[in-house]
């Protein structure tokens, strides 16, 4: 029996035998964590992340290796860094070790900034989502409120609140939260306005989802990329606000946070530069690291920039 013919073309039977699979032509699994790859490609963002890790280490882990209170006197007053009888970072107007105070001062600042960022993101996303999703009069009312908070002189408003209700962590967090949420709210509102008419939202309605479900389970995850990026930036500005308030003395003096310590040392800073420089540098590097990270996240979560 010869080979079969199809349309007059002889079909070679051996050609039907499966050839060895060429591994290189098989579909490769998509690269894992493409976002992480994009983030890593942004050198500045990686630097920012390392910087933040170092700062967190200094603030939360390093103090565990030291004994005694940081407010104890260690030597003479106003001793320059490295001077005889002084410490690595010098001593302040009470003879305390500047290095140790700055080391632990970050915990108060970071705690306040972190909590404030939570308030800001929580308030901002909720109000933005409701305004964008429902539109109409809900949008109108919420946006007028947002604008009200946006045109308030932020620091002044925070000062008034803290002055009225006392400088506890709670009031400082709320004060910072109240002045900074409008940015996020507007951003989330814009995302909701854009997404609520997309087909997949219509499809979610068509399977019988209610409003709450559509807002929080359908649309919200799609707005997370912008929210995450923005919240790192918001955290940076929360740190600046906290430092500003503390500098003016509007913080818990027992915390000895960076801003408060700069304020305490400012009377002597012409002769004692180390008292204000080291806490200042910590604030600077913390805010810098957060905005570098935010920049890198922007690349990581934006699929259009991938493969660039």
């Amino acid at each position: 029996m010869g080979d079969p013919t199809v349309f007059g073309i002889e079909q070679k039977s051996e050609s039907f035998e499966p050839s060895a699979v060429d591994e290189s032509r098989l579909r490769k699994p998509p690269p894992k964590y493409p976002g992480l790859r994009m983030f890593r490609r942004n050198k500045a963002a990686v630097f920012g992340a390392i910087l933040l890790i170092v700062i967190l280490f200094i603030t939360f882990v390093l103090p565990l290796f030291f004994d005694g209170e940081r407010t104890e006197r260690v030597g003479g007053i106003h001793l320059a860094p490295g001077a005889e009888g002084s410490t690595m970072f010098g001593t302040d107007y009470l003879g305390r070790d500047v290095g140790r105070i700055v080391m632990e001062g970050g915990s108060a600042t970071l705690k306040v900034a972190g909590l404030a960022a939570l308030v800001i993101v929580g308030l901002g996303t909720t109000i933005g989502a409701l305004a964008g999703y429902y539109g109409g009069w809900v949008d109108n009312v919420l946006m007028r409120i947002t604008e009200f908070f946006q045109v308030l002189p932020g620091l002044l408003f925070a000062i008034v609140i803290v002055a009225l209700y006392g400088a506890s962590t709670k009031t400082i967090v709320l004060a910072i939260g109240l002045i900074a949420w409008p940015t996020i709210a507007r951003l989330v509102r814009a995302e909701f306005l854009r997404q609520k008419n997309l087909e997949y939202v219509k499809a979610a309605r068509a399977i019988g989802a209610n409003d709450a479900r559509i807002i929080f389970k359908t649309i919200m995850p799609n707005t997370l990329p912008v929210v995450i990026v923005q919240s790192t930036l918001v955290m940076g500005s929360a740190i600046l606000f906290e430092a500003g308030l503390a500098f003016l003395g509007l913080s818990n003096p027992k915390d000895l946070s960076w801003g408060f310590y700069i304020g305490a040392n400012r009377n002597y800073f012409l002769s004692n530069w180390w008292g204000v420089t080291f806490p200042g540098l910590m604030i600077f590097f913390t805010v810098l690291s957060l905005s570098l990270i935010g920049d890198g996240l922007q690349d990581a979560v934006n699929p259009k920039l991938r493969g660039r």
């Binding site: 087909e199 499809a203 068509a206 359908t218 995850p221």
Partner: protein, 289 residues
């Protein structure tokens, strides 16, 4: 259709307006169990608005209003509900559960941040009292039913990892996951290429035979109508032009607009014997004629 049978969905004098502009005007038709009804018409003729009105999705987030008419829907227990007057909670229960909808753009009608399996499971759990494991099992069943190869793996994939035809199958799977009695397909094949169109249409017909659901197919493609529909409703400028069975309408269109619509499809073989393709006459129609 047997006229003595009670209709599953009876649209009576449906009028939908947008800020005074009438998008659908006094539309009436009946839909019976197991029937495929095609609503055809050009862009802006009101066919999609009709579909969205049946789901009562047209009034959400737009200024549209169902001004008049009744949408009498027969529930599985035999009671009749007017969808125009039903409250929102009732509508949510009906959507997806009794009446499902497939959209035009399979590329955008799935949520990009969830796996397809997750989305189908969510749809199932919205209406059925099943735990995660049972819902997963059910999702696997519907994926198999819409002939998705390797359903177990596909359940774990995100929409962007799938082709357009595959995504439309997922949409159909989602729409069928709660065994609806009416399936509304709003131009389900427009965004797909011709071979996939044929596949999806074939699939929908098979599924209809299997489930016995009634289908409202919204399209502007007469080829699709001839392929799948039992009955046809021709719409133009928000009004019903002509209705009847596909055979009646294709065989002997009564209205000039229907004739023009049918004549707009070039016939296979109409250029035989000619040395090169020739222009054919465009049908000129006065608006409202």
């Amino acid at each position: 259709m047997v006229s003595s049978e009670k209709p599953l969905l009876s649209v009576q004098g449906l009028t939908v307006t947008f800020d005074g502009f009438t998008a659908v005007s006094e539309l009436s038709f009946d839909l019976f169990e197991g029937q495929t009804l095609a609503i055809v018409g050009e862009s802006g003729s009101g066919k999609s608005v009709t579909a969205l009105s049946i789901m009562r999705l047209v009034t959400l987030g737009t200024r549209a209003k169902i001004a008049e008419g009744e949408l009498n829907f027969r529930m599985p227990d035999g009671s009749i509900i007017d969808l125009v007057k039903a409250d929102e909670a009732q509508m949510r229960d009906i959507r997806g559960n009794q009446i499902s909808m497939i959209f035009q753009e399979p590329l955008t009608s799935l949520n990009p941040v969830y796996t397809t399996g997750n989305q189908v499971i969510e749809a199932i759990r919205l209406h059925q009292d099943l735990d995660k494991e049972q819902a997963h099992q059910r999702a696997l069943e519907v994926f198999q039913r819409v002939r998705i190869p390797e359903p177990e793996e596909r359940l774990k994939e995100y929409p962007h990892q799938m082709s357009g035809g595959m995504r439309q199958r997922v949409m159909i799977a989602m729409a069928l996951s709660c065994d609806p009695t009416v399936l509304i397909a709003d131009e389900p094949t427009t965004a797909l290429d011709v071979t996939i169109q044929a596949q999806i249409l074939g699939l929908m017909r098979t599924l209809q035979n299997e489930t016995g659901a009634a289908v409202i197919m919204i399209t502007h493609d007469m080829g699709v109508v001839a392929e799948v529909a039992d009955d046809i409703v021709v719409m133009r400028n928000s009004k019903l032009v002509e209705t009847g069975t596909v055979y009646e309408v294709f065989e002997d269109p009564k209205e000039p607009y229907t004739k023009a619509l049918l004549a707009s499809i070039p016939r296979l073989g109409s250029m035989t014997g000619k040395s090169r393709p020739e222009l054919f006459d465009l049908v000129e129609m006065e608006p409202g004629a």
